[in-house]
């Protein structure tokens, strides 16, 4: 019984196991080995990610060849020298040989050689991916990226606003395509990591340490990114997007962003439409709609472009109510909406601007494709859900903990719907 691996008794067990696993797996989409997802490292869109992928393939091929060579010898030795019977096992022991220095030294030399094949492109890659190549340094576009628990702030040092601040966006970084982008990365709290796999490998955002990386999108596109260093409760949902635009398109986007928020004024006498109900989402229902699927017919970039346009019709009364609530529920304490002023019941008649900086700048939030750091699709329904019950969407988020709980802010479901309508109008 205690014989070799192909014993009569263990074979059925193995077959059963294999069959069972196959049955269980048959429900899965087995195309995953192609690795063509939105956030893949295996389909690149710029020179940094490409050089990293090329190096990966070098390591992959070298190790695969060695694996096949060594594996074949191992497999051969296992089957060739296997004792096939009790008599075999009790035969006179084989020659008690102790090794052969020549064989061992040659194998060591061969291993060193194959490592050199990997080492040379590795060194090249380290130098290339470290910073923008000198020839293109002057052409590089600069961005500052800052990590917060749990969102990303992106600032444009080249784009000063009238108030002296830098143009800033939250969680969606728009860059010019076809030119190098040099990103200074910082954090205000714990360690985060900036990672857009299709464009470049990650670099960590570390407190009290200035880091940078460079990347370049060869063409316009919409790219998924995510924090890659464990940073507390909501690390898994600290996501972001990078949108690369052709130069003209990028210039137009910057011009719009630098402008004030889009004010929607309710015509006198306009009446409110039927107020939408707060949609009933399940706690774990985060998924994006079908237009963001991996195999959707419309490109993600097209989705983004569609998001820039104002809708044909808007409920101006609801928007005005939402704006009023945005001020009176103290949202302006943490969020900026440039070019707008409002009144708070608490401060009487004075018109005050929305200049909070603890949270993302919301001046053009309606034009973003995602909210809550890339977690939810930016629709009025998801916005209302996020505003009404942030604690149920994103564990430990500061809007809830320091805002709602810390300051005693309460927002009812209908109020959240109105605020969502207001924010959606900020294209």
């Amino acid at each position: 019984m205690h014989s070799i691996l192909s014993s009569r008794t263990s074979r059925p067990v193995i077959s059963l196991l294999a069959l069972g696993s196959l049955l269980l797996l048959s429900g899965c989409d087995l195309n995953f080995w192609k690795m063509t997802g939105h956030q893949t490292t295996m389909v690149t869109a710029g020179p940094v990610a490409k050089s990293q992928l090329d190096l990966f393939y070098v390591t992959c091929w070298v190790t695969l060849v060695i694996f096949i060579l060594v594996g074949s010898v191992l497999a051969y030795a296992t089957f060739k020298f296997k004792a096939r019977s009790d008599a075999d096992e009790h035969a006179e022991p084989p020659p008690q040989s102790h090794g052969n220095p020549l064989v061992e030294m040659s194998l060591i030399a061969a291993s060193v050689l194959s490592l050199v094949i990997i080492a040379i492109p590795t060194l090249k890659g380290i130098w290339y991916t470290h910073d923008v190549p000198e020839a293109q340094a002057a052409n590089a576009y600069n961005i500052n990226a800052t990590g917060y628990q749990w969102w990303f702030k992106f600032e444009y040092p080249a784009e000063k606003l009238d108030n002296g601040m830098l143009l800033s966006t939250g969680n969606e970084l728009v860059i010019p395509a076809g030119r190098p982008v040099r990103i200074q990365i910082r954090t205000t709290d714990v360690i985060h990591s900036f990672w857009v796999p299709k464009l470049a490998g990650k670099v960590d955002m570390i407190p009290n340490r200035g880091n940078f990386l460079w990347l370049q999108a060869d063409e316009g596109g919409y790219f998924w990114g995510q924090c890659a260093e464990y940073c507390g409760d909501s690390h898994a949902v600290m996501r972001f997007r990078v949108i690369a635009l052709a130069p003209m398109e990028f210039a137009a986007w910057v011009a719009n962003q630098k402008g004030p928020a889009r004010g929607v004024v309710a015509a006198t006498g306009a009446t409110a439409g039927a107020r939408p109900q707060l949609a009933n989402f399940k706690k774990n229902e985060y998924g994006f709609t079908a237009k963001w699927a991996e195999d959707a017919t419309v490109s993600p970039l097209q989705n983004w472009q569609d998001q820039q346009k104002a809708p044909a019709s808007e409920d101006t009364v609801l928007i005005a109510e939402g704006k009023n609530l945005f001020w009176n529920k103290s949202c302006i304490g943490c969020h900026t909406v440039r070019g707008m002023t409002g009144r708070m019941a608490a401060t009487g008649d004075a018109a005050i601007p929305a200049m909070g900086v603890a949270g993302p700048d919301l001046t053009h939030v309606g034009a973003r494709t995602s909210i809550a750091a890339g977690l939810l699709e930016n629709t009025p329904a998801q916005l209302a859900r996020w505003i009404a019950h942030p604690d149920q969407v994103k564990p430990g988020n500061k809007m809830y903990v320091t805002g709602y709980q810390g300051m005693g802010i309460k927002i009812s479901d209908p109020e959240a719907v109105a605020i969502a309508a207001f924010l959606s109008s900020l294209k």
Partner: protein, 659 residues
């Protein structure tokens, strides 16, 4: 070296027996009952206890892993909350590394190493007991949070600053993590010093360094790695503790502290730790392959040398865990190349293992299956390791599931496979019973299949951009299928582990009894009866060659004459010296437990006025510790002598003479 020289006991009727002991020390003549286990100083009992605790925590860590896989089975799942999930992966890593694999290796160091060098115990038996109990205390402190409001630690097993600071993690879970690891460090360093002294000083006559079994060599290298690397994490943990308790400024960002310092200190420990986990496994494999090939290990000197080389290089590559921290070109290049260098000695081991198989008579028993499985899985894990060494490529792999796949191939396919092989291999020696081959092979194949179904798809999902330590993921990123497969695989793996341990427990009670040297072994532990008598060797063996027992079996006449002569000599010196048991190592650990509860578990919020209780508890712990250490010193190192008459395998024939 004659064992009788090691004792300063005099024989019959000497002063020692007339002088009353300053303190009472229990004798090992009581072999059953709780007290005999709590006071034991027998390396075999200590090794067994290490094994039992380690396997318990292996199951705990396994349950944590299954919960992680359940949560990730489908996108946007809510089996666990974010915080529960973060706690699970933190404790899964911490438990598997510090409470499962390390102590399981320690179990083999304790049990097998002295037998392989022909010694009757380790150099410092009471220190050995202290290591065991301090390990248990550390494990308690680490896990106590499960039963408290604060919960278990959730800072990741690497505990990156500043996430472990008071500002970002106010509750006590991190204090307990810090204190628990600190105690485990004490246990590991004490145990390692013991092993080093044992291996250097207690080898049987003729057991030169270059005749040591490779497992003993790897024990020695591992012990040095522990002694040299744990101080780094000890320092780092002290700094975190001071930041948290006394508001110091080591990692505190707002006062200019440097969180990056934690990473350097952690990985200066953490990378050698990787080899602390794998070298014992390589040692076990280097014992099993020759035994089941019926041939000596191929290229013994170079295997030993490459093991030591891995140990040295292990200290030179810590920053490859930090390729994404912006170290600059030169540092990145240096650590990249140093990391590639480690592939050479590792490759050498694999070549030599294959060389060992070559032209042998391979007996395909379960330990051999695990050993061969080890080589295959370790090759895959090693090759993905080489991929990480190319720093720019690693920038895409770091902190992704590709890394998860890599180190589980090394730690399960490597360490765990080898440890399971070792348990199966030495089971007949430890308990005198043989594990059923059929069910052994079934357990191997289920574990092998489950492991690969779980972890192979994770390579793909990692390269497809999925970061690690994420409690949820979206459904539109192409990550669904591999995660689902991995979860199914995890349950198959768990089934395999279940079969394995059910089989071991069954065998312990009901397995078929076997005589000594069940596998036709090559090393000295197989020369003694099973289960081994408390004194291990009736006669300290003379070693004439590597694979000492193989030599004995093939030179029986020469050895018999030699043994008779040594036995006579030893008997004239008073027989076999055995130490009394002692309760004080356990009491020292109890002191550490009480002190650690004071420092890390009790509330120190001044508003609640608990400083008094907190400090008092810490002080009481300190007093217990120092009192016990004092008593330990005072009780003296008395013992008794044994005169085994018959080698019947159970030590029953031994006549005791108390002194």
């Amino acid at each position: 070296m004659d064992a009788t020289i090691k004792t300063h006991f005099t024989d019959k009727g000497s002063a020692a027996s007339n002088r009353p002991s300053l303190l009472w020390r229990p004798s090992t003549s009581t072999k059953t009952g709780l007290m005999s286990w709590l006071t034991t100083v027998d390396h075999k009992r200590i090794g067994f206890l290490y094994g039992v605790f380690a396997l318990f925590f292996f199951l705990v860590g396994g349950v944590e892993a299954l919960l992680i896989r359940l949560q990730l089975a489908v996108p946007n799942n809510d089996v666990l909350t974010a915080q529960q999930y973060n706690t699970m992966f933190t404790m899964h890593g911490t438990t598997m590394i510090f409470l499962a694999v390390m102590p399981l290796s320690a179990a083999f160091f304790n049990y097998i190493m002295p037998l392989q060098i022909g010694a009757r115990d380790v150099a410092f038996p009471r220190l050995n007991a202290f290591s065991l109990w301090t390990f248990v205390v550390g494990a308690i402190i680490l896990n106590i949070g499960w039963f408290m409001k604060d919960g278990a630690p959730d800072g990741g097993w690497v505990g990156y600053s500043p996430l472990t600071s008071k500002q970002f993690n106010a509750d006590h879970s991190i204090d307990m993590w810090v204190m628990g690891l600190q105690l485990l460090g004490v246990a590991s360093i004490a145990a390692s010093l013991n092993f080093i002294v044992t291996i250097i000083n207690m080898r049987a006559p003729g057991m030169t360094m270059m005749r040591l079994p490779v497992f003993v060599w790897m024990t020695l290298v591992t012990a040095f790695l522990i002694v040299l690397s744990f101080p780094a994490i000890t320092i780092a943990l002290v700094e975190v503790m001071m930041d948290r308790l006394f508001g110091t400024n080591f990692f505190e960002v707002s006062h200019g502290g440097m969180p990056i310092l934690w990473q350097h200190l952690f990985w200066v420990f953490g990378h050698p730790e990787v080899y602390i986990l794998i070298l014992p496994a390589m040692g076990i494999i280097s014992e099993i392959l020759p035994c089941f090939s019926r041939k000596p290990l191929y290229g013994y000197p170079i295997v030993v040398f490459s093991g030591a080389c891995i140990g040295f290089l292990g200290f030179a590559v810590w920053s490859h865990h930090m390729f994404t921290t912006g170290m600059g070109k030169v540092a990145t290049a240096a650590f990249s190349l140093a990391t590639m260098c480690i592939a050479v000695p590792t490759g050498v081991k694999i070549f030599n293992w294959i060389g060992t198989l070559w032209a042998g008579h391979l007996k395909m028993r379960t330990p051999m299956m695990f050993a061969l499985g080890f080589i295959w899985m370790f090759m895959i894990g090693g090759f993905s390791g080489v991929m990480h060494s190319a720093a720019p490529a690693d920038a895409q792999q770091q902190d992704s599931y590709f890394v998860i796949a890599h180190f589980h191939y090394v730690l399960i396919g490597g360490s765990i496979f080898a440890l399971l092989a070792g348990i199966h291999y030495w089971f007949p020696l430890m308990f005198g019973r043989m594990v059923n081959e059929f069910w052994g092979k079934v357990s191997f194949w289920v574990i092998f299949a489950g492991f690969n179904i779980t972890f192979f798809p994770l390579h793909f999902v990692g390269l497809n951009g999925m970061p690690r330590r994420t409690f949820t993921y979206d459904s539109n990123l192409g990550w669904n299928a591999p995660n689902q497969i991995a979860t199914i695989g995890a349950f198959i793996l768990a089934t395999g582990i279940g079969i394995y341990f059910t089989l071991m427990i069954y065998t312990y009670f009901k397995g078929q009894k076997v005589g000594r040297d069940h596998w036709d072994g090559r090393t000295l532990e197989w020369s003694i009866p099973n289960p081994p008598p408390e004194y291990n060797f009736k006669v300290i063996p003379q070693v004439h060659a590597r694979d000492a027992f193989w030599y004995e079996k093939h030179h029986q006449a020469e050895i018999a004459a030699e043994k008779a002569a040594s036995e006579k000599a030893e008997s004239e010196h008073g027989g076999i010296h055995m130490p009394f048991s002692s309760i004080w190592p356990l009491m020292c650990s109890v002191g550490l437990l009480v002190g650690a509860i004071g420092v890390s578990v009790l509330n120190h919020d001044p508003r609640e006025g608990f400083w008094g209780v907190k400090i008092a508890t810490a002080l009481v712990g300190g007093v217990i510790l120092f009192f016990s250490a004092y008593m330990w010193a005072l009780e003296g190192n008395e013992g008794y002598h044994l005169h085994p008459e018959e080698d019947d395998g159970h030590g029953h024939g031994a006549k005791q003479a108390h002194h």
